[in-house]
């Protein structure tokens, strides 16, 4: 009985997994209700983001850490 090399079995396993273990699915346009939910949007509420950034800069003394919009005068 011929001896099978281990990497042959590994290759067969990889090919089997690629063929039958795919986790991708096509989401149809009418199935995007959950994806379109507001909770799926990063930084959906601009006002809240601005408030939290301001609060965090003050608490952490990290003014400028999120980017600055002034001309360098320190009067942001």
């Amino acid at each position: 009985m011929p001896h099978r090399r281990p990497h042959t079995l590994i290759l067969a396993g990889v090919l089997f997994a690629a063929a039958f273990g795919g986790g991708c699915a096509t989401v149809q346009p009418w199935q995007r209700g959950r994806l379109a939910d507001n909770c799926m949007v990063f930084d959906a509420d601009g006002s809240q983001v601005a408030y939290m950034t301001h609060w965090q800069e003050a608490r952490e003394a990290s003014a400028g850490g999120f980017g600055v919009q002034s001309g360098g005068c320190g009067c942001k």
Binding site: W30, L35, A36
Partner: protein, 157 residues
């Protein structure tokens, strides 16, 4: 980049075609079923929409205006809701008073049959039951196209 930005919103696209309306059943508000191919003899605009679809919030009231304008001339507008949860559609409809015929297809069988590629999508069917014009997405120009196409179909005998 957000997931929402990947969704087909604008610009809208349109095309003319001529193929039979798929025979597919959807539900009415009271649970009865109707076949979308059973409207031969009338000009029908079939619109696939959902409450979560941003352009649908604009297109739905515009379709209602269109329907009020043309219903006396035998034009029917069918708004097929594709929400998975009926409650979402009812919340939307409660905020948008209308005269449209709203149908429901939470399983998404009818958009599959029609080959819907984006939300909202609309199909204008002639009296012979053939889909003559299709639209995907919604912008201000689409409403004008609807009128032009419906007027064309009304002029046919």
């Amino acid at each position: 980049m957000t997931i929402a930005s990947l969704m087909p919103l604008a610009p809208s696209t349109s095309a003319s075609t001529s193929k039979p309306t798929p025979s597919v059943e959807v539900s009415t508000a009271d649970g009865a079923t109707v076949n979308l191919a059973d409207y031969k003899g009338r000009i029908v605009l079939i619109d696939f929409w959902a409450s979560w679809c941003p352009p649908c919030k604009t297109s739905f009231p515009a379709l209602d205006v269109l329907y009020r304008q043309y219903r006396d001339r035998g034009v029917e507008v069918l708004a097929v809701d594709l929400d998975e949860r009926r409650h979402d559609a009812e919340t939307f409809l409660g905020a948008h008073p209308h005269s449209l015929t709203v149908l429901y297809d939470p399983k998404g069988v009818s958009p599959q049959a029609f080959g819907v590629k984006g939300m909202p999508s609309s199909f204008i069917v002639d009296r012979a039951g053939n889909i003559r014009f299709t639209h995907m997405g919604y912008s201000g120009d689409v409403a004008a196209s609807y009128r032009q196409e419906i007027n064309l179909l009304l002029s046919e005998h």
